[in-house]
């Protein structure tokens, strides 16, 4: 996938639901950008806007994550398998500050802090939804 090769960040990826949905996700709404859908290859970024940053506060975990607004395209690569997926920033998240210093390792190399939230479509393209978190590298 040719959606980015310049290293942007790395950390943990989790997944979330958005848009029209079933179950407890039904109340999720279209997200901070208004376009978020669980079935699309999309992501939530902790610094999608100033207001978003104020909620996620990755700086409290030592992550000075750069601003990438709605519509930014990124490649997310699962560090353990090399599988990757291209996503569009469509929401604000994850709430990095609530899980400071949480880490996910792959063969001894660890990624710390939740830095990106993927839709089920994007997350399942590179890992199993039942895994919850993945160590990832992010490119743009």
């Amino acid at each position: 996938m040719a959606c980015g090769s310049t290293k942007l960040w790395n950390g943990e990826a989790t997944w979330f639901c958005c848009g029209s949905a079933w179950g407890p996700c039904a109340s999720a709404g279209g997200g901070a950008c208004g376009t978020c859908r669980s079935s699309a290859l999309q992501a939530a970024w902790p610094n999608a806007s100033k207001a978003c940053w104020d909620i996620t506060r990755p700086d409290l975990c030592g992550e000075d994550i750069p601003r990438r607004g709605c519509g930014s395209v990124m490649k997310v690569r699962h560090d353990c398998s090399g599988a990757s997926v291209c996503v569009t920033v469509s929401d604000c998240g994850p709430r990095t500050r609530s899980f400071c210093s949480e880490s996910t390792c792959c063969d001894g190399v660890c990624r710390t802090n939740r830095v990106i939230d993927l839709t089920p479509a994007a997350f399942s393209a590179i890992g199993s939804l039942s895994s919850g978190t993945l160590p990832v590298s992010i490119f743009e």
Partner: protein, 211 residues
């Protein structure tokens, strides 16, 4: 290969166990731990088989089950048909089989689109939810969770529900959960009453202290 073909699942498992234990042993390499993380991960990625079509995804509520095909009504009025075979993994609070799937269940499916318009599923996750919640109450059989403005009951399941504390791996020990903790809750939603069967409750490192 008679044991492999037998109808008895125990025989089949025994056969597969023997096969698995004859497999090659791969041990994690410590050398990686000593080098720069980024350099270690920068090794070229083996390309996926180009002959295999890019995977597709389906989402929605199951409206009907016809043999091995699930009719799925998407959340945006779209419809899809998901084919579940013996090679499809089925998750519904645990690794299970297609027999556990019911009409009305929610689903995420990943697979390969077939020429007949169905999605040949590699994996389906039934009713799976992954919520950021706050623990508001703890009882013997359930947790009370606040998810945004909604209250959700989380059912504890013996031998299935695990807790992950910070960076430690999941454990059956739930005694360190406390009221007020922020938690990432992975579980299976029950369409009948809206509660969630808890599979994994992950709390932040050092959780329990006030933010």
């Amino acid at each position: 290969m008679s044991a492999y073909r037998t109808g008895d699942p125990l025989d089949r498992r025994r056969f597969l166990t023997t096969a698995a234990l004859h497999g090659a042993t791969v041990v994690g390499a410590t050398a990686l731990g000593a080098v720069d993380a980024d350099a270690a991960f920068a090794a070229p990625i083996r390309p996926l088989d180009p002959a295999v079509a890019e995977s597709a995804f389906a989402e929605g509520r199951i409206t009907a089950i016809n043999d091995d095909v699930l009719a799925v009504a998407g959340s945006y009025g779209d419809h899809s048909r998901v084919r579940v075979t013996g090679a499809t993994s089925v998750w519904k609070a645990r690794a299970t089989t297609a027999a556990d799937i019911e009409t009305g269940d929610g689903l995420y499916a990943r697979g390969v689109p077939l020429p007949d318009g169905t999605l040949a599923a590699d994996a389906v996750w039934v009713n799976i939810v992954n919520l950021h919640a706050t623990i508001r109450g703890i009882e013997k059989t359930r947790l009370h969770l606040a998810h945004g403005q909604h209250e959700i009951v989380g059912n504890l399941m013996a031998e299935t529900t695990s807790a992950a504390y910070g960076t430690a791996s999941p454990t059956a020990d739930l005694s360190r959960l406390t009221i007020g903790q922020s938690a990432q809750v992975l579980g299976a939603w029950r369409p009948s009453d809206g509660s969630v069967d808890l599979v994994r409750v992950a709390v932040a490192p050092g959780a329990g202290r006030r933010r």
